[in-house]
Assembly symmetry: C2
Homo-oligomer: 362 residues x 2
Amino acid sequence: MLNDLPTPCIVIDAAVVARNLRRMATYAKSHGLAVRPHTKTHKSTLLGRMQLEHGAIGLTVAKVGEAEVMASITDDILMAYPAVDPQRCARLAQLARSKTVRVGIDSTIAADALAAAARSAGATVGILVDLDVGHHRTGVQSAGEALALAQHIDRSKGLRLDGVMFFPGHIASPPASQAPALTAVGAKLEEVLSLWRRSGLEARVVSGGSTPTAYQSHLVGHLTEIRPGTYVYNDMNCVRGQCAALEDCAARILATVVSTAVPGQVVLDAGSKTLTSDRCGPAPDSGHGHVLEYPQAKITKLSEEHAQVDVTACDRAPKVGERVTVIPNHICPCVNLQDQVWWKEEGSPPRAIMVEARGKVF
Amino acid sequence: MLNDLPTPCIVIDAAVVARNLRRMATYAKSHGLAVRPHTKTHKSTLLGRMQLEHGAIGLTVAKVGEAEVMASITDDILMAYPAVDPQRCARLAQLARSKTVRVGIDSTIAADALAAAARSAGATVGILVDLDVGHHRTGVQSAGEALALAQHIDRSKGLRLDGVMFFPGHIASPPASQAPALTAVGAKLEEVLSLWRRSGLEARVVSGGSTPTAYQSHLVGHLTEIRPGTYVYNDMNCVRGQCAALEDCAARILATVVSTAVPGQVVLDAGSKTLTSDRCGPAPDSGHGHVLEYPQAKITKLSEEHAQVDVTACDRAPKVGERVTVIPNHICPCVNLQDQVWWKEEGSPPRAIMVEARGKVF
């Protein structure tokens, strides 16, 4: 049945998804943590609904368009991304009229823009102060800055100060060696939260967690919720980063060999417009994904619609027309390139499910 | 008016597009070469139609879905990509019932699959033998292999042997120093074509040309047509490869600064889901695109929705909420991430045009 699917395409193993969701739910429950999955990975209401059925308290998004899609299945949305322009703020405020909407921000400019939009819509937008815990991408730098921004938000009509968020993207070491870095994050949180307390401000929500750190989140302390995204599907970043095994990778790219003309090489019909050019974080020189049927093969080069695969280390090589399965380095942007993915349940033919939030760039 | 567009988005300067199209048309005409633009760059019928109006003899695609979109505006399509699976071949053969459809292939397996589909549809598919001239991606390796495949095609009912195609993707040096490499391509073509002639086979079509080599195509000899794609928009690959100037870049990404919290850095709302992770070929360490308003800035790191920009070398830095213009490393996969782009003509507000062939992965 998989042989009838047009390639390249993404096939999702429903049983592996269910196992990934159960594992995260069980971990979080045992540590008293809420899960608010980041939907950037699947961008699909089917998967979002499954996450909610597995106990997620709400969903995380990066874009307003994603928030609008996910609002059809949940009443509680966190946009873990600063909204600063008037258009984005207006659409968020509109959503906040009927839903619990929170936004993570790190500037008074964003606070003022959201407050103006909220007042204009007659809504209240919840705010999490985005704290830089070492990833150095966004987030206020110090406890003092976190307090100043929190006080500004607390004074702003239309906003509701809800707490703190952070993204521990700098912690990519194997889970077994993450404890010191996570303890340092906890210390920074403690500094911020105690300063807030002394100033009469409360953080009801402390939101953190990435997929690589997800199962070590209890080491941080202070957390009320985690926001893993990739864990639903997993990918070679997870496998080589030792936070998932190959058999935990639920999303696989089916590709066809289209050329074997160059000696020692085969070419797949999955290029950068399918696999993306994202390198593998933990192993940047490992190539552009893992070919399941030919584990010695290396995807050495991508062009837009071609993957060049070095098969010189393989005992045998695939022929033109043969199909292979690739686990990509980074599944999230791969899904974002597809209008639909194929959902495969044991005993049933694959069925197309829509990636409804794909292309919601705004 | 550009300030009202939601970001991130792609804005196309219509005047620059027209200049790029005129320049290519003038060059090709002066050298007796036909132009068959590769539509992978724009994936839009508006642009394809403009290329045809500027004298293109037909259009090039990589995917059957793209062919089906472009068939609405031209009767002459080349799929410069091997079709080997039955589904792809069947759809191409269907198209070949009413259109001139050619496919570039490098294996007898592909030839047999296309022949079977053509016979089944009662159509004839034109074939170009794909020749490896040094890029080592696809293409038969030797004149002997090219002859053997051509003879196989010539004997196949349902197929029509039309000629040879190649992609000189290995020639990325500045145009001024391409002559030796292009002469070597010409020598390889001469070897193939003379062997075909001696065997009674004719190549009515000799199709080559990439954007970096486009304006040197006359140095190859034997060519009947060229297939540049990127030239319609251009990008930093072209600028740093010296085949276009900054002012020839017609497609620009409008982005908003969403965070300045980390010292020495600003963050744009255009990450790898907008700019892609494609490095700049001629300058892999130059970052992820060029910020027009801040030429000293360097986009050092992308995550899915964030671009981290090092502004330490800049005299001044943009503020949160400010908009900037980015010329990406590689425009083709960026366009493929957008449902629509904004078309800007002098004196008119930008209007949305659809990227109809986006997501046509099959």
